[in-house]
């Protein structure tokens, strides 16, 4: 992670949070249970809880219990989810009636969140290449009661172009550096060779994601890594390859702007509209979010 010292202004805070355990956070699934009802369950379970400032459905809970081991979790009343991973879906602003593609969807945290926001009243297509991960995706869709979702297993690079969408979420496969609080081995950062390799895949996926958007459609690109090669450099690349523009992300959360320069290389100035989320921003993992609009 040392190589990010130059771009992370509050480095001491960043380092401190990286070394702290993650809080227990979850998303209440209002497809199945109301927030009032869930708060009653929390009380019954003896958990204390605090709602996220930026999202009605997000909660941090305090308990010694393993939060995946309750009947309420088994029934799909909540999904265990980090605060950072709410952001890409909130940035997407899914609306009822839309056709939405989640190109790399497994295990389904974001797919089922989209279904929840639109109250199962959109057409949601969840795709992933990993067969075992797709099984987890389906189980989560069923558990959360997301009847508005279909599942396929295409390689995202060759997702059929005859289908067109109003919105696409590309939560790309990445080096996962932002998961350092879950997995301390990640604190040292990913191998550059791996980063460069996966960056090639990300550039391929984002082009296909744009190709299946309707004109005027919205793409949200997200990763859970800090590497500029997988974040700003992917967006900078696609701004040159496809007719898209960077949109502001209208969310009231703490974040750092996307960088416009790295190792002497300058990027499109609009990359400053993209978001870097560091562990100290939401007391969560790290990640990156960019919102693009396809020019018609």
């Amino acid at each position: 992670m040392e190589r990010y010292r130059q771009i992370i202004s509050d480095w001491d805070k960043f380092s401190y949070y990286c070394s702290q355990p993650l809080p227990k956070t979850l998303r209440v699934n209002t497809l199945k249970v109301s927030l009032d009802m869930m708060e009653k369950y929390f009380k019954k379970l003896g958990w204390s809880f605090k709602r996220f400032d930026f999202c009605l459905w997000g909660y941090e809970v305090q308990t010694g219990d393993e939060i995946s081991r309750t009947l309420e979790h088994w029934l799909g009343y909540y999904y265990i989810q980090e605060a950072t991973s709410f952001i890409s879906v909130l940035a997407l602003q899914p609306q009822p009636g839309e056709k939405i593609l989640d190109l790399c969807a497994a295990p389904g945290g974001k797919t089922t969140f989209i279904a929840q926001i639109v109250n199962n009243k959109a057409s949601i297509w969840a795709n992933d290449i990993g067969f075992r991960r797709i099984r987890a995706l389906m189980a989560n869709i069923y558990r959360m009661g997301a009847v508005s979702v279909i599942v396929t297993g295409y390689n995202g690079l060759s997702f059929p172009q005859k289908f067109k969408f109003d919105k696409v979420l590309l939560d790309a496969p990445c080096s996962g550096e932002g998961n350092m609080r879950k997995d301390p081995r990640r604190v040292k950062g990913a191998e550059l060779g791996f980063i460069n390799n996966i960056s090639g895949l990300q550039k391929g996926l984002i082009q296909r994601a744009i190709d299946v958007l309707n004109p005027g459609g919205i793409l949200v690109y997200s990763t859970c890594t800090l590497a500029p090669e997988e974040n700003e450099m992917v967006i900078d690349y696609v701004l040159r390859k496809r007719k898209v523009k960077v949109e502001d992300i209208d969310l009231n959360i703490p974040y750092s702007q996307g960088i416009t320069e790295w190792n002497g290389e300058k990027f499109h100035p609009d990359l400053a509209k993209t978001m870097r989320i560091y562990p100290h921003h939401l007391n969560s993992g790290g990640g990156y979010i960019a919102k693009l609009k396809k020019i018609g």
């Binding site: 199945k32 219990d65 081991r69 309750t70 009947l71 979790h73 088994w74 029934l75 799909g76 009636g97 199962n120 009243k121 959109a122 057409s123 297509w125 797709i134 389906m138 189980a139 869709i141 069923y142 558990r143 009661g145 997301a146 009847v147 508005s148 979702v149 279909i150 599942v151 396929t152 297993g153 295409y154 005859k162 289908f163």
Partner: protein, 156 residues
């Protein structure tokens, strides 16, 4: 699938009669028959489903299995309907639930006609069972049964 309209109507009637589901449910959901499964979907998915052929692994949630001997409700489907189910629920206490999950069946005569039932625990619908001649059989699929067994010690 042959006679699919007729079969879908049969499924709806079955749920009405056996589980007391209101007809109103079908204003928001439709059933699509594919691969021996009746899938419960939101009507907006309809367009895609007809263009995608057999490439989809999953459509909405699996609601019933179409077996040679008839319709079998899935546990996912019954859990989804949850409190909409008003008939043929077998409420289980913790000991019964434990017995059913460990042994696959429990004995105990009940005033219920032979057939599939919704298993209830603590006011929640937790899956599907089959009742015949004083024996209740578990129909919750293996992986789900296993994960439910794991949380049993936490249940009160």
């Amino acid at each position: 699938m042959p006679n699919s309209k007729k079969l879908v109507e049969e499924i709806k009637k079955y749920f009405e009669k056996r589980f007391g589901l209101s007809r109103k449910i079908w204003g928001h959901h439709i059933i699509i028959l594919r691969n021996e499964i009746g899938w419960l979907i939101n009507p907006q998915l309809y367009d895609w489903i007809f263009n995608i052929g057999n490439k989809a692994y999953s459509l909405g949630i699996p609601f019933v299995r179409l077996l040679p001997k008839g319709i079998k409700p899935t546990s996912w489907g019954l859990i989804f309907m949850g409190r909409e189910i008003t008939r043929n629920i077998i409420e289980l206490g913790l000991e019964d639930l434990r017995g059913l999950l460990y042994r696959g069946r429990i004995k105990g005569s009940r005033d219920i006609e032979t057939g599939y039932v919704a298993l209830g625990y603590n006011g929640e619908i937790i899956g599907c069972g089959f009742y015949k001649d004083g024996v209740l059989e578990n129909q919750i699929p293996k992986a789900r049964r296993k994960s439910l067994l794991e949380i049993l010690p936490q249940l009160k």
